[in-house]
Amino acid sequence: MESLYGSHWILTLLLAIPFLGALGCLAGPESRARWTALFATLLALALSLPLFWTFQLGTAEFQNTASLPWIERWGIRYAVGLDGISLLMILLTTVIMPLSVAGSFSYIRKRERAFYASMLVLMTGMLGVFVALDLFLFYVFWEIMLIPMYFIIGIWGGERRIYSAVKFFLFTATGSLLMLVAIVALVYQHQLQFGVVSFGYEDLLRTSIAPGLQLLLFSAFGLAFAIKVPLFPVHTWLPDAHVEAPTAGSVVLAGILLKMGVYGFLRFAMPLFPVAATSPTVVGTIVLLGLIGIIYAAWVAAVQPDAKKLIAYTSVAHLGFVMVGVFALTRQSLEGAILQMVNHGISTGALFLLIGMIYERRHTRMIADFGGLAKVMPFFAFSLTVVALSSIGLPGTNGFVGEFLILIGTFQRFPVVAMLATTGVIFAAAYMLPMVQRVILNPLSRDENRELKDLNRRERWIVAPLLGLILLIGVYPQPFLDRMSASVDALIERVELGAQPMQASESPDPRLIAELDPAGRFDATPPSEGTATAEGSAGP
């Protein structure tokens, strides 16, 4: 086994297992599809877990890399690898997937083969996004994810599933399209400079790009990622998609898919275009939008009558924290942001699973239809309470560690932003506690609720690991932080160094500009000095 985890093949194996599982689902009988899917996802989990320990600390180099030529004429390779950030995302994916498959057993009653095959293809797509080190490969995986998710919402969703699915598809496809153009332009720049066509991530990192062009390309990447995050105001696809998606769809969407956007910023948009990523305008805009997301989404969440929609809006708020942390670009805020991506996957995944469990019993998502469930479903009540506390960041749970690191890091750079963002902890209590109260507390006044059965054995096994992780990361997050710290360091260094020469020189070398941008289409004026002024633009 040791050799497998030192080898090039482990990631490829991880990518292959769900895909083969999907084929297995389609090939087998309808009744066996769920078991095939569960088996495939559990196998992937078992295979991926040792990575947590075999992963070498203290280095930002990609590990377990594999690289094979794919379309040689265009310099496209099958290149995958793992760093501290992708490691945690991979593990998040392999933990969430078996739980959401198991959480679908009683929910999905039609076209089971297609459903489980979609879930598994989706898993391959997501894992692929997190390990791809070739931009073409990344794009392929990025698009692969889109299709099964569209089907999951559109076929197995609620009443307005078509509207939601199309909205989801249009929003995300719009972003992707722009990103594709930007990727091509980036490769073209690279070819201009080095005379070779390459989609390789590390090749493209070496490309130097004029600030004006950087801003343009960053915007194209950024829009695709911002929609996925989702950042205010391009978040409105999310509540609809969540409400209509089946439980498993919501869990995967919130738990993993939303992380793609942030991951995209961390892996591509920021290191590839450091000048743009640190320009006061960009930082100011994104931090401001993240801040609006934190507060605004919490407000909107607080008045939702639909439990799933409420949770959907809390995702916008949580991811707002993450984006603020990422663009504050301090050690603590970045590590907090990455940890918070994991935390959000766990807590929000658990919230959707729990709401799904009572939806299956009562076929309603309306908060007002419940009340007093603690009486008849004590284990459910206990679980919902713990998960809600994690979501509002109570110390001792995972949510606190992430938020605390984000805020303390952000404060050192943008104190006003951090202080405003901290009000999010009040609003979090203001949206989550009333929901908890109206579902599990208060009198058990409705007759339909009196006979509800508490979580069964399968459901308990789904919830228990998530509760365990919530407490584990809350009390002892250090192993997780240790795994990301070298990569975070490297990212900060890369972005800050990449931004420096461009900002330091009053006017960039004109020959360079002429070479990069022969037509003079892109304004090469460097953004105004320093990032310290960003606070002003981000403040109220």
């Binding site: 091509v184 409105t236 284990f379 560690v401 050192q412 506690l433």
Partner: protein, 668 residues
């Protein structure tokens, strides 16, 4: 001096209550009907921790260490320069606090065995109560602010769970939610203070911060003021001061032992502890100190005025608690940290006693009415009256508590309250001094009113119920008796030198190593001076300490006698037959309409804005734009509809082919 002090079994102090919480929590699911396990595990977990705390106290007394002892457990989070360890701090202050928490806590656990015995949630109750002790101990033992914050919000969580313990009552679960949310407003301050301190000191460890602060921070400067003001915002929330006090009266929805433990003796005093603990920082910020003392005295007066017109026995005690917490803030605000902790300690004794006594009365009323089938409010003092012969032990012990809180010599409250008032006076804060004196008389007044309405005069509980009223069982009155003894002798640890009494100075000398740095900073800085040095020796109205101590207790006793004499003649009507108070009394009865004001000015406007965000911004503006664009696209797209097969996979295929064509054209 004997050998150095090392914390004894620190893991056990925290481990026992946590284990108790876990066992009882499992019990709430696994052996819900079994009452034996919680009865044994619940109190023992806390009393066991108390014994370990006593051992530590004894060892610390023997060694008399000058510096705190740290117990590092594990690294919590380490990120860049930020290093936060799960580390415990043992010094004279934290050990004293652990004694109060586990001692008073243990007594209340024992009492709960009698009080909650019949409740179906018995095991769950002890789980929450043990968990509370665990978090409270983390709060007082945390060696850095984030670990303290774990305890800080942890006790808030337990408070939330216990206020809404009878969750099927909507009002009760509302009260829990309100407590949590209002506390979070304060916690915002605590968080921001931590962010600031990390920026300034590069660490959040208390010993390092306190050591660096006098040289790093400018005395009276903006940073010191900001840090302490934000910390104090946390205290205002947790310790229910103006303007965030509104959650505490509602918190009385919880079982009465919970009110005694959490909402009187321990959790709500955490704010006082935080200010005292961070004394060095506050000493550097005279502006904040003035705010602390002003908020404290304002709250003391305001809450006392409300307590005068309440009929719910627990509401009287709740406002009394808010008022007494105000006293403690006056003390720590003027820099008299020991006096603040002194009052914290004696208040823990007599207020726990008063709450448990009130619980005994409520318990007895509840049972009596349960027998007769009446449905009155067992908390309403208008339904009591003349209970003294029926519940003699409760009446006697509560009288001791009343005399203690009123500041009558020689009960505990006399010594601690006298010290606060005197300290405020000699430091030249005439307004604080005078207001504190007035509040002391108000306190004596409303407490005597409570006692008269409950135990004296004619009985109003109804003919049939009276026969069922009787003294509570031993498991409940023995805790009352212990607390009554503590409320009597608890003040004798610190007797003013000037009084013609044996000179006892246990508390000041015990806490001296903890507060010495803060006092040193203060005497070097702009405010106050060290205890006893450089201060006036006269009260603002003239007169020395002896005369005011004697005069104060005399006035308090006089108030008790006068109020007793006047009210015991008054004929009260049972709650059902009483009219609403009118005039000024109505204003006080309705608590100055603060809740209504907050509802109009804060809650409702906020909800309106939130709905607007959803219905207008999200639904109309953003989605309207998107769907509008979609409509345009649909019209345009209609022309190309011949190409459409209706399958997304086909679209994607075309999309990918298009992409490849673009790529191809670039490559050649």
């Amino acid at each position: 001096m004997s050998e150095a002090y090392h914390p004894i079994l620190p893991g056990l102090i925290l481990g026992l209550p946590l284990l108790g919480a876990a066992l009882n929590g499992i019990g709430a699911f696994a052996w819900r009907e079994n009452k034996t396990v919680p009865t044994i595990v619940g109190p023992l977990a806390v009393l066991g921790a108390f014994v370990v705390c006593l051992l530590n106290f004894a060892a610390m007394r023997a060694a008399a260490p000058h510096d705190p002892s740290l117990v590092p457990l594990w690294t919590w989070m380490s990120s860049g320069d930020l290093e936060i360890g799960v580390t415990l701090l043992f010094d004279q202050l934290s050990v004293l606090m652990t004694l109060i928490v586990t001692g008073v806590g243990g007594i209340i656990h024992v009492y709960s065995v009698g009080y909650m015995r019949e409740d179906p949630g018995y095991s769950r109750y002890f789980s929450y109560l043990n968990l509370f002790i665990f978090f409270m101990l983390i709060l007082v033992l945390g060696a850095n602010y984030p670990v303290m914050f774990v305890g800080w919000e942890g006790v808030g969580l337990c408070s939330y769970l216990l206020i809404g313990f009878w969750y099927e009552n909507r009002e009760f679960s509302d009260a829990g939610k309100k407590a949590f949310i209002v506390n979070r407003i304060g916690d915002l301050g605590f968080l921001i203070a931590m962010f600031l301190m990390f920026g300034v000191f590069g660490t959040l460890d208390m010993p390092s911060i306190f050591e660096a602060a006098p040289t790093t921070l400018l005395a009276g400067g903006g940073i010191a003021t900001a840090v302490t003001l934000f910390l104090f915002l946390g205290c205002v929330g947790k310790s229910a001061q103006i303007p965030l006090f509104v959650w505490l009266p509602d918190a009385m929805a919880g079982p009465t032992p919970v009110s005694a433990l959490i909402h009187a003796a321990t959790m709500v005093t955490a704010g006082v502890y935080l200010v005292a603990r961070s004394g060095v920082l506050f000493a550097l910020a005279p502006f904040t100190q003035a705010i602390v003392a002003s908020v404290g005295v304002g709250t003391a007066l305001f809450a006392a005025s409300i307590a005068v017109q309440q009929y719910d026995i627990k509401k009287v005690l709740a406002y009394s608690t808010i008022s007494q917490l105000g006293y403690m803030f006056v003390a720590v605000g003027v820099g008299a940290y020991t006096a603040g902790i002194f009052h914290l300690m004696t208040h823990a004794f007599f207020k726990a006693l008063l709450f448990l006594g009130a619980g005994a009365v409520i318990h007895a009323m509840h049972h009596a009415w349960h027998e007769t089938g009446d449905h009155g409010d067992p908390n309403d003092m208008r339904n009591y009256g003349g209970l003294r012969p029926l519940m003699p032990i409760t009446a006697a012990t509560m009288w001791i508590g009343t005399l203690a809180i009123s500041g009558v010599f020689p009960f505990a409250g006399f010594f601690s309250k006298d010290e606060i008032i005197w300290e405020a006076g000699v430091r030249g804060y005439a307004v604080l001094w005078a207001t504190a004196l007035i509040v002391a008389l108000l306190t004596a007044g409303y407490m005597t009113r409570l006692m008269v309405m409950t135990f004296h005069g004619a009985n109003r509980s109804g003919e049939s119920a009276r026969g069922h009223l009787h003294e509570v069982p031993a498991v409940m009155w023995i805790p009352l008796a212990i607390l009554a003894v503590l409320s009597t002798v608890g003040g004798w640890v610190q007797i003013p030198e000037v009084l013609p009494l044996p000179d006892v100075d246990l508390l000041h000398s015990w806490l001296e190593p903890v507060f010495a740095p803060a006092i040193e900073v203060a005497s070097g800085g702009a405010v106050g001076g060290a205890h006893g040095e450089g201060l006036a020796h006269e009260a603002p109205l003239g007169g020395g300490e002896t005369s005011w101590a004697v005069g104060g207790t005399g006035l308090a006793l006089l108030t008790v006698i006068v109020v007793f004499w006047r009210l015991s003649r008054r004929r009260y009507l049972p709650a059902a037959e009483s009219a609403e108070p009118s005039g000024a009394a109505s204003l006080l009865y309705h608590k100055w309409y603060v809740d209504e004001l907050y509802d109009r000015l804060v809650v409702r406007p906020l909800l309106a804005v939130w709905r607007g965000c959803w219905r207008i911004v999200d639904d109309r503006l953003i989605d309207g734009t998107v769907n509008g664009l979609g409509g345009v696209a649909r019209v345009v797209g209609w022309t190309g509809s011949q190409l459409q097969t209706g399958r997304v996979s086909t679209y994607l295929l075309i999309f990918m082919i298009g992409a490849l064509i673009i790529l191809g054209s670039l490559a050649f």
